[in-house]
């Protein structure tokens, strides 16, 4: 086992923790955090695999991908937080009720 | 392209364009709407007359438009098609007059006549369809354009009936589509061809598939042809206005189903293949069962239109029976009943509508002595009812005669038994009506709605009724003429099916 593999493994672990938390936590801030952890995991994996030939210069492509990815995930985070604040302002809630309630008209 | 190539399309367009234009008319533009309706109907009649003349003299008309890949939209006027086209365009003309009178002053007339015209377009399309896909396209169009007519009144009852109509017909169409697609996959583009188009398939290797497809096709068509137990929509659809019932029962919907079965058996599978697949027996059994069951149910109805509706269930299956009893004579009987049932049944529905509109009669128990008030209407009714029973000289007898001959010729004497049973039952549910109308004394004064005029009712209601009654009578009386429906069908059988035998009666 070499160093990049080690980090790749860490990435997978982080991803799994993130996805788990993303699914079971209800508070939106926590979900956004979990999303970031997932992202970090994936990015770690991507950069780790850039070291395919030990010792040689890492492949530049994954680096570019990760950079783009970070920008994307920050945009998501930022937008998600704006949305959260709006929801809080409007409804006073910080967690999502189930969609069947928001579509609400499924009574007899 | 010459005019010949465009005639079938033009025939279709006369009603389509009329229908589309009418949608845009305001409710008050009665004159313009009437003009459009009548102009469309008359132009169509003229075009059909030209094509009839040509077809009779051996010409053929075909419009071919690209549709999908190798499959074109084909409209072809062969003899069988012209039989149906002639029927529907003539009856459309009469029904339009009737409907104008019937719906006077009722709301949503533009919508009604718009869909009415499109409905006829679809029917003519079905009749002229030269291949299975074209047939299916118009078959579905028919379903869609009839639905608004069935629910036209918008009452809860009408909506329920419309819902039922859709459930049945769309399910049927789904089955049909499966069959059609499967057949296309198996045999390539299916053009209707006399004698069938599947002869190039090896029967042995495709036997199971062919039987399955046949069941799908006939099952799908059987919904519109009102086979028991697929008939449930028909009696409930009688809540529609009378001209619509006339369309459903005589001109368009049920006819489309029956016509489709004729096409499937003769022009797709071909008699030989159908028979060797062993599907004619079960088909005949279904038809026979429908004939008896429909008559029995008719016997139990008090609502006049309901009784007529069940009578349609029964009569429609005559056509199928004629087809399923494989033989030239029964074919003549079955196919000609397509026309005969149409003109007789439309007369009956016209009468029922006229009675309802003029004196407010809907039930048979209210009909006592009505012939005194409306002798002409009841005369028309009587002629048509005698035709339904199969008494000469009304057209129904000619159908029965050939069906009976055909059944015996094919060695299927039970078919005659079914016919006789049906005759007895028909007499059982029609004669009491006639008796009540002609010989009983009226209970009370009539609930008069019609005009007190020299005519017993609005002439637009009476005239088409009498016209179709006269047609029913002459179609039977002049059966010996080559241009009578039965003469025409004999020609089809002779030309298209090459099954001519010296037994057809008059040369």
């Amino acid at each position: 086992m070499n160093q990049p593999t080690w980090y790749a493994l860490t990435g997978v672990i982080l991803f799994s923790m993130g996805i788990h938390a993303f699914v079971i936590r209800t508070h939106l801030v926590r979900r956004i955090l979990a999303f970031n952890i997932m992202g970090s995991g994936v990015f770690l994996l991507l950069v780790a695999i850039a070291h395919r030939i030990p010792g040689a210069a890492p492949d530049p492509v994954p680096h570019a991908l990760v950079l783009t990815g970070i920008v994307v995930s920050v945009s998501f985070t930022a937008f998600g937080l704006v949305l959260l604040k709006k929801i809080y302002a409007k409804t006073g809630k910080t967690a999502l009720i189930d969609p069947t309630e928001s579509t609400s008209d499924q009574t007899n | 392209m010459t005019l010949h190539d465009w005639l079938p399309l033009l025939t279709l367009l006369t009603s389509l364009v009329t229908g589309l234009l009418i949608f845009f008319l305001a409710e008050q533009q009665v004159r313009l709407r009437t003009f459009l309706n009548m102009a469309g109907a008359i132009i169509k009649l003229a075009l059909v007359a030209v094509m009839l003349w040509g077809t009779f003299h051996g010409q053929s008309y075909e419009t071919r438009l690209p549709l999908l890949g190798q499959t074109d939209l084909v409209l072809r006027a062969d003899a069988l098609a012209m039989l149906f086209v002639g029927l529907s365009s003539l009856l459309w003309f009469l029904t339009t007059i009737y409907a104008i009178g019937y719906l006077e002053k009722s709301p949503h007339r533009s919508r009604f006549f718009g869909f009415f015209s499109i409905c006829v377009t679809a029917t003519v399309g079905i009749a002229l369809a030269g291949n299975l896909l074209t047939f299916f396209v118009f078959y579905e169009l028919l379903t869609l354009s009839t639905y608004p007519l069935v629910v036209h009144r918008g009452t809860p009852e009408a909506l329920r009936a419309g819902g039922r109509y859709l459930v049945y017909t769309l399910s049927g169409a789904a089955l049909l589509l499966l069959g059609v697609v499967w057949l296309y996959v198996l045999a390539g583009p299916i053009e209707f061809t006399a004698g069938g188009v599947l002869s190039h398939l090896e029967e042995e290797s495709h036997r199971a598939a062919l039987i399955a497809i046949f069941v799908l096709l006939v099952g799908g068509l059987g919904v519109k042809a009102a086979f028991v137990p697929l008939h449930g929509w028909l009696p409930s659809a009688m809540v529609a206005p009378a001209p619509v019932s006339a369309l459903l029962h005589a001109v368009a919907v049920v006819k489309a189903g029956a016509f489709g079965i004729v096409r499937v058996v003769y022009d797709i599978y071909g008699i030989k293949l159908t028979e060797s697949l062993g599907v004619t027996g079960p088909l005949a059994a279904v038809a026979a069962f429908s004939i008896i069951y429909g008559s029995l149910r008719a016997l139990m109805q008090d609502d006049l239109k309901r009784r007529l509706a069940y009578s349609t269930v029964s009569q429609l299956s005559y056509i199928t029976l004629g087809v399923a009893i494989v033989g030239p004579l029964s074919t003549v009987g079955g196919v000609v009943h397509l026309v005969h049932q149409g003109i007789m049944k439309i007369t009956l529905f016209f009468c029922a509508g006229n009675l309802a509109e003029t004196v407010g009669i809907h039930r048979i128990s209210e009909m006592d002595g009505v012939a005194k008030r409306m002798p002409w209407t009841m005369t028309a009714f009587t002629i048509a009812a005698f035709g339904m029973i199969g008494l000469p000289p009304v057209a129904g007898f000619i159908s029965k005669w050939y069906l009976g001959l055909g059944a015996l010729q094919a060695g299927q004497g039970w078919g005659v038994g079914v016919l006789l049973m049906s005759t007895l039952l028909n007499a059982g549910y029609f004669l009491p009506i006639l008796y009540a109308a002609w010989f009983k004394e009226p209970h009370a004064a009539w609930n008069e709605k019609g005009l007190k005029d020299w005519w017993e009712s609005d002439w637009r209601l009476l005239l088409p009724t009498l016209a179709t009654a006269v047609l029913s009578l002459t179609a039977g009386l002049l059966a010996g003429l080559p241009i009578s429906p039965v003469g025409w069908v004999r020609m089809i059988v002779k030309q298209d099916y090459k099954l001519w035998t010296p037994f057809l009666g008059i040369p």
Binding site: N2, Q3, P4, W6, Y7, T10, I13, L14, M17, G18, A21, R25, H27, V29, R30, I32, L33, A34, N36, I37, S40, F43, L44, V47, A48, A50, H51, P58, H63, V66, L67, I70, V71, S73, V74, T77, A78, L81, L84, K85, Y88, A89, K90, T91, G92, T94, S102, S104, D105 | -
Partner: protein
Amino acid sequence: MTALTWIFDGLLTAAMVYLAWSLLSERDLFKAVVLFIAFGLLMALAWVRLRAPDIALAEAAISAGLSGVLLLDAVGAIRSPNPVPEDTSSDSG
């Protein structure tokens, strides 16, 4: 590679996993966000270890920094006294 680097990498990754775990299970949102910022800094270290200094910079600035600030702001906003919902009746609309 030397054992030292192995130990460093091991500790670093272990710390990341631990931090991630604790920030995801922390009850106090504010603390969780702080932990997240810390996690971001560790990530930056990890990028350096993986010879990706460009990403390390980006991570520190954008992910830990910007995200952290935004998160803190959001947590602050939703910790403030609960505002009266403007119009809950229109929710179903």
